[in-house]
């Protein structure tokens, strides 16, 4: 199966990257470093899963970073100002994320406007609402939520990390094994063909943005836990890292192609790269240049590989 070999080559790239940093810095390949990486990535993982599903239908969701901040703000304000419990606050933020996704999905699908524009609008709006509900202040919550990001006895990983893995597996199954997932792929491959075979694509196109919004609430929970507070300024530009992870993982911006597992490996590659470069004492500007180059290189590799497969 071609997707299998694809995942293998991505894993190989990840392995080589870890090997490279370990050789340069013997301290890199150690339990604390790996735990640190593992507990950092859940937020980006949720967003990368969201982007993968949307991109497979041929759309894009630029609003995920802002939605994360909005959902996080909802959690903070609801818990601190209204005295709600964490689970209640999280439930409200889930609904908020889904509602925002419903709005963008409906406008872009029924209004036939590119999702790029609609979600760019949502990116601004959601950030604005996040500032409004928090009064532009960081809301400190404390250990009630913070515990979710702390290592547990089980392999030293956090509950959020485990949740992220579960979501990755569920989303991959959704994509490859369910009728819903096959329709997402079919819509991204050839929307006209789907329509002309008598299927109404609209509910699928709208609901995929709702799934994306819901995943933003999960990402918000993860980030809020890590900071033990809600920051309306959080996750600015994180949507771009999520897109990068999906592209590195082989998801096509043109739709129709991609896998959630691939995107997850993309997240790992980005995280290892960032941590590894930091451990070598590379400064922030250089880190950015190298990360940028890796993204473009990954996209090129993917392009060549598909071209070879077609020939």
């Amino acid at each position: 199966m071609p997707s299998m070999t694809k995942h293998l080559s991505l894993l190989l790239a990840l392995f080589l990257l870890i090997l490279f940093f370990s050789l340069l810095n013997p301290l890199f390949f150690s339990t604390p470093t790996l735990q640190a990486i593992g507990n950092q990535i859940p937020d980006l993982t949720f967003l990368a899963v969201a982007l993968t599903l949307v991109m497979i239908t041929g759309g894009i969701d630029l609003s995920v970073g802002s939605l994360l901040a909005l959902c996080s703000s909802i959690i903070g304000v609801h818990m601190i100002s209204n005295g709600a419990s964490l689970s209640e606050a999280f439930l409200i933020s889930l609904l908020g994320g889904a509602l925002c996704g419903l709005i963008t999905g409906t406008i872009t699908t029924l209004g036939k406007i590119p999702s790029f524009i609609v979600t760019l609008g949502m990116l601004e709006c959601a950030r604005g609402v996040a500032y409004l509900v928090t009064d532009s202040q960081t809301v400190y919550i404390g250990s009630e939520v913070g515990a979710l990001a702390e290592s547990t006895g089980f392999l030293g990983v956090s509950p959020m990390f485990i949740l992220a893995i579960v979501i990755v597996i569920l989303a991959q199954l959704l994509l490859t094994r369910t009728v819903y997932g096959r329709y997402l792929v079919a819509i991204g491959t050839n929307l006209d063909a789907v329509r002309l075979s008598g299927i109404n694509p609209t509910p699928y196109q709208i609901s995929v943005f709702m799934i994306s919004g819901t995943l933003c609430a999960f990402a918000a929970l993860s980030l809020t836990a890590r900071l033990a507070s809600s920051d309306p300024n959080a996750a600015i530009g994180l949507e771009l890292s999520a897109i990068a992870a999906a592209v590195i993982g082989g998801t096509s911006l043109m739709g129709g192609r991609g896998s959630v597992i691939g995107s997850f490996i993309g997240v790992l590659i980005i995280a290892v790269l960032q941590t590894g470069l930091a451990s070598m004492g590379v400064d922030e500007p250089t880190k950015r240049i190298i990360t940028g180059a890796v993204i473009v290189f990954a996209a090129l590799m993917d392009f060549w590989r598909t071209k070879q497969r077609r020939a």
Binding site: V179, R182, L196, S197, G198, N200
Partner: protein, 491 residues
Amino acid sequence: MVPEVLLTLSGIKKSFSKPVLNSIDMQLNKSECLGLLGANGAGKSTLSRILGGSITDYEGKITIADRSLRAWRDDSPVSTVHQELSQIPNLSIAENIFFGRLPNQYGVINQRSLLESAKAALELVGLESLDALKRIEEVDLATRQLIEIARAIAHRSELIILDEPTSSLNKAEVQKLFKQIHSAKERETSVLFISHKLDEIFAICDRIAVLRDGEIVLIQSRHEFDEEAVLSAMSGEKSAEKQSKDRQVERGTTSFNLKNLRTQKLKNFHLKLQRGEIAGLHGLDGAGHKEILKALFGLSDSQGELTLNDKNFKSLPKTPHAAFRQRIGYVPEDRQKFGLLLGESISLNICLNKLKNWLGWVNKKETAIQTLKASRMTKLVYEGPEQSVSELSGGNQQKAIFARWLEHDLALLLLDEPTRGVDVRAREELHEVIRELAYSGTNVIIASNDLKELMRSCDRIITIVQGKTSKEFWRESWDEAEITAATLSNA
């Protein structure tokens, strides 16, 4: 006079995953039009891609004008006019003609010289009245094809390859194209004419070559042309021109009744079908026969009343989804653009509208069985349900789209040019599927510009002129010339 040889192929071999061409030896003379025939998958397009320069890793030797094809490289004297035109829709006609060698100075295009040379080239193909500054997407397909030929002439090609050039042309346009082939020959240009249509090949070519399983199995000169021999050479068996099954149309039981269909183009169109009838809609480009199918499948704004198998729908379906729920199916004209999920598996392509519920699991075993069943009915040749549909030949791809509409117990199946670009054998098999469906009670309406195809499969042909029925012809009493005349008249 001994003809001068332009092109020599010796021992051409090429394999992809399996051998496609086995040692092709052939010559093509100057000013000659050679017809290349063969079933889908016989190796025609591979051969044309080798000659056109898009495949370079082949075995054997090709010489053109005493020079190896490999040595020609960028200035190759071969131009290919592809079945799917490879023009750039957003650029002007002139820019398309000279794309790759636009007259320029320091990168700035010399507009006047471009326009003048473009006009000169267009004049040679009889398009002197065309505005060369128009964007190419504003021009109809037939003209675009002639523009491709103008491009070949402008590039001083010695060999023009025409790959299925007439598949989207009507009769008058085909005649225009033939005129251009004649004048190309007068300019000592050679033409390689690849087609499925025997009558066209016989009409225009000086010689024909039949390709089967990667080998040339028959070469005939004009005075020896023999349809029987060509057909049996193509299929590798004794020609078995299947007789149309004795068709049973129950006259008198109306199972489809369309009243007062109105769209932008159609004014009060009526159509009644008897149970099990296959009806053909025929007309010139833009006559409106394609619009009827689109209106019935919810693809255009339309009003009208439809009765289907005793069920009366007050209005026509507004979306394809609604049409599907009324058990109406549709096979679009352009299978690549509107039909297939290219790059996806055959099973997904076939079972696309058979996967049942919203969030349910895809039952792999069930879809594999459905794929097998549907492919048996259409005689679709494939390796396995997970094979990519892109790897199939044109005929098999069309069968996959047909297969999508099987097992739905359709009340009505609408077919738009169902066998365009499909080889002779696959066409027969598709017609068989259509007959089976009609036999089991599905009403079938075929819209086509290809009268031969309609005459082969339909019980009745209705000619459409300017959005209205001009005449009707039943199988027992129709005449090709009369039908053609009816598409022109203002009834």
